[in-house]
Symmetry: C2
Subunit: 313 residues, 2 copies
Amino acid sequence: MMIFMELRQLQYTLQIAADKNFSRAAEKLHIAQPSLSQQLSKLEKELGVLLFQRNTSSVELTHAGASFVEHAQKIMDAVEQLKQEMSDISQLRKGKVVVGSMPITGSHLLPRVLPAFKKGYPDIEITLLEDTSMNLEKLTASGKADLSLLALPLTEPSLSWIPIGEEMIDLAVPPQHKLARRAAHDPLRPISLDEIRDEEFVVLKKGQGFRKLTFDICREAGFEPKVVFESNNIETLQSLVATGMGVTLVPRFIARAKRSEFIPVYLPLAEPVPSRTLVVAFRNGRYLSKAADAFIDTFKQVMDKLVVESVRE
Amino acid sequence: MMIFMELRQLQYTLQIAADKNFSRAAEKLHIAQPSLSQQLSKLEKELGVLLFQRNTSSVELTHAGASFVEHAQKIMDAVEQLKQEMSDISQLRKGKVVVGSMPITGSHLLPRVLPAFKKGYPDIEITLLEDTSMNLEKLTASGKADLSLLALPLTEPSLSWIPIGEEMIDLAVPPQHKLARRAAHDPLRPISLDEIRDEEFVVLKKGQGFRKLTFDICREAGFEPKVVFESNNIETLQSLVATGMGVTLVPRFIARAKRSEFIPVYLPLAEPVPSRTLVVAFRNGRYLSKAADAFIDTFKQVMDKLVVESVRE
DNA sequence: AGATGTAATAGGATACAGCTATAACGGGGT
DNA sequence: ACCCCGTTATAGCTGTATCCTATTACATCT
């Protein structure tokens, strides 16, 4: 005979064993006494074993019943643990988020976000995945990353995104460049893109999102940048600019980074200041775990605070 | 929100996790696919956590789901173990019986029964409880012993009994007694009780069942035994008889016992041969576990065999 | 675009745990 | 010896929750 035992019956049995009295056990279980009798009878019939030696005046465990209770207790403990675990996850006391980010944003933004997140959700684990924009989009689309920190525009059509903030783009020139000197004397005068149309540019190699943005910005201003060098590493570009190889456009978070040597001069550009939109991207229509949701929230808050600080400076 | 999780849902979830496909999982669970979807949805709603990241083309565990499955697997394993245990008990592959017996029967009958029982039910544990008839009746009535090996009549009204066998009662006389000598010459001539009406008797002390039986037998034969000594130990009585202190009546199983020295001569009594009825007693209306049932059965079989052997000798 | 495979939804049927009422029992009191 | 109290078991009914079939809504591959 098939046994269709359910947790309810384990719980009922444990309560009877604890009280040694059907009526009181039923009361604690918030059911009527006959229901309890029925359930136990059904269970005993299924098991083919009498669990309690009972008559109208006493209720005692049989040997089989004692063995049953011992096992059942362990099971109910494990069930409680499972419920607690799920509750913890649901209440954001536990969880895991895999976050992808580009090396640039990873090294400059996340260090500000992660501590704040850890403070709010100390037991949610964050796994970081650094890669190029293109790879990150793929990882996120396939679900290997829960969400990624990217800049618009995205190429993967299966990704949705939430804007995180607008990152201004500055001009980097060598310290001895004439625009650097002018800015030193006249810091309030912004530099228009038109003034650098004949400069020599160092830019990122093809396939990196920011290279394309650089070209787009220049074209928008009516010229094609004259490229004299390309690198895969945006930090390398800074050093190249610092040593006089040319100029380049840089996201402001890069410009702010502290470097020990080979530091270019960073100059703000005139209105309309070019910028890029940073977003958190995740798979289209994919359920975001509460932990991932919380991460995005924290991110937005931290970014807002950053922007305010930028304005103050 | 209260969580009414049931084993069915754990099982369903595990199957989905194993197949990563609702339709196939439903098939293995012998339910329709929509039922499975419903159950999972309900569970997720109760837990407040998404267990599977799913769309029409793929089904993947979330972090929460992975954690759930891990716990659920352990629980289902424990449940399986519990079912197995109960099945073992129900199929008499396991169990425990507490058997009470008087020292006499315990030392002479049980050594014959236990090996046979162990052979048939190797994993059923037998716990032996030796005590006086009176105490055994109490222990059995209170449920501390599952069953007891006693002789009629019983005094506890709450006990039922099943006859196990009829034990003949012999006469024990000193080796040099005239009846012993007569039996040596004329072994076929039985001794009538009337022939020992003037003998001096050694008997058990008050409170022991067999003392009362001895007196009843003598009175039935029309005389009051002349008591010259009393002991609590029936073995002691044998020695006393052997050394010529008097005669006594003995259950045949005692008579059969091998003793190294001080052996009386045992003589059969004439028809109607006095006897006592050995019974297995258990609590009135009490459910006898299958294991206890099996023990009684084995006991009866062994006793039948013993009787047959007795007749052959 | 259309075909195929898959999960979700809708709506109806059914099984089962729950209920109330009542019976059956056991033990302790008068 | 009998009745009463506390208890468990049984009977019969009800409502909910799980299951079913039929259908819809997607997503992927051809």
